[in-house]
């Protein structure tokens, strides 16, 4: 459907991604809060919804924003300054690190996109002092980045690679079901956090699925 090639994503493409993601979040926010209710504080959906609604309102006014890097930075700053909570800092970090990674490139090819996602995952690991298996969004993000990289190394198309990344994110999300949380508010529930899917992993899986849908 898209007329661009696999390889060169513009600011407009990224905007398509983020608007799609924002739409998903706004649609699903009650589900995300319900997931957070199981062992957290029941606000992941409303946090993300607040940030994404504000973003949707504000994006049309970003006249100055031309490059993918500027766009990602604006998204990151916007999230940092409107979401709050863990997810505000973490989603903010995701986009700010992606922005740093893409620099002032006028467009993003598959390799750069993969580097940007890797930087994002690295950022979450640092900011959250988190590793895989801690039952957080990192359990969706890390495997999706690995899948993306692996597919691209195998010279698959970006479309295929992103599809695989989305599937990996969803598998990672589902794998949090059996984990015991070691980070974030759910960790206070210890053993009782088992048997629920992590809300942040769920929203991250939505983010990557959106990327596959809009950027692939």
């Amino acid at each position: 459907m898209k007329m661009m090639t696999d390889k060169n994503l513009t600011k407009t493409d990224l905007e398509g991604w983020i608007l799609d993601f924002a739409g998903q979040i706004i649609e699903q926010h009650l589900v995300l809060s319900d997931l957070d209710a199981a062992s957290g504080d029941a606000d992941h959906g409303s946090n993300m919804e607040r940030g994404m609604s504000a973003l949707l309102k504000s994006v049309p006014d970003w006249d100055e924003v031309a490059t993918p890097g500027e766009f990602l930075k604006e998204v990151g700053l916007h999230i940092v300054s409107s979401v709050g909570g863990s997810s505000g800092a973490l989603y903010g970090t995701i986009f700010l690190r992606m922005a740093r990674a893409v620099g002032d490139a006028p467009s993003i090819n598959a390799g750069l996109l993969s580097d940007a996602f890797e930087a994002a995952a690295q950022g979450v690991a640092e900011r959250g002092k988190v590793k895989q298996g801690d039952k957080t969004m990192f359990d969706a993000l890390a495997p999706s980045v690995q899948a993306l990289k692996a597919k691209l190394t195998e010279k698959k198309s970006l479309s295929e690679a992103l599809a695989s990344a989305a599937a990996a994110a969803e598998a990672g999300r589902d794998a949090t079901f059996d984990m015991v949380a070691r980070k974030g508010k759910s960790s206070y529930a210890r053993e009782n956090s088992r048997g629920f899917i992590d809300p942040g992993a769920t929203s991250v899986a939505m983010l990557i699925r959106s990327a596959a849908r809009t950027l692939g």
Partner: protein
Amino acid sequence: MKKFVNQPSAAVDDYVAGLVGAHREILEWDAENRVLQRREVPPRPKVGLVGGGGSGCEPTHSGFVGYGMLDAAAPGQIFTSPVPNQIVAATRRADSGKGVLHIIKNFTGEVMNFGMAQEILYFEDIDVAQVVVNDDVSIPDDGETAGRRGLGATVLVEKIAGAAAEEGRELSEVLALAQKVVSRSGTFAVGLSSCTPPARGKPVYQLAENEMDLGIGISGEPGRERVPMANAQEIARLMVDEVLSDLAPQEDAELLMLVNGMGATPHHELYLLAGELAAAAEAGGTRVTRQLVGNFVTSLDQAGAAVTFLELDQELTGLWDAPVQTAALRWGR
């Protein structure tokens, strides 16, 4: 959901408007930066104190802005820590040249957002120190969790560090005192109900009619374990045992006891429980020489209570007794 609320998304703004309106002589709201601050800038430079955290825990921190406690507070959305911009603005406001102490409750969101604020403040000419309050003894200190939450000790840190700052002490001293309070405090909380965030419109979880929830925090997440409801004396003994076995105060120690309601627990029950808590603590040989009883670190409309003990010494006692004038705590003025 039955609450006094308008648009759930405006719950924090509408609350702040009411608070500031009722305490105009003390408070001022910087709406642009979303910072609640002392109306009167201190007459001479002092260490500034900034608290911040998710809303829904009032009067923490909003009700503790004023003489002898905080200079500014950054309220987040309900159960959501403030954003770095707010913390930065609050810090600028609180600074009068002697540096600023950030009082951070040990919750992931709070720690990360204060952390991001500090990265920004790094480039400004303000000395910033931080104390992370983590007094919740219900969380084992085994590295398998986000760590002990910051609960009732937050009030004690803000009061005692605030009194030291008011005396004109330096940032390093104020920080050291704050850390001393943290290291000598412990809290354990018991929930009798869940709570209902306005945006959610229904309780976070359900507790059965005969259950209580041990080891709860302050943002509605379920506690450590659900056990059958007991009477006040039994609950008090359990709570005291949890805190004092962890805190291990000296034999004969003088304790400050904060009996804190979670929001919906009435005065009658809190004082009744306080009597049992003091008796249980004193049965162990310590002496409860200061008490504060009320709803101070809350979780919206949750029913339940927490006890915090602080092992006092002469310096801490003096700073505790010093005058304070805020919306929620006032004596000596």
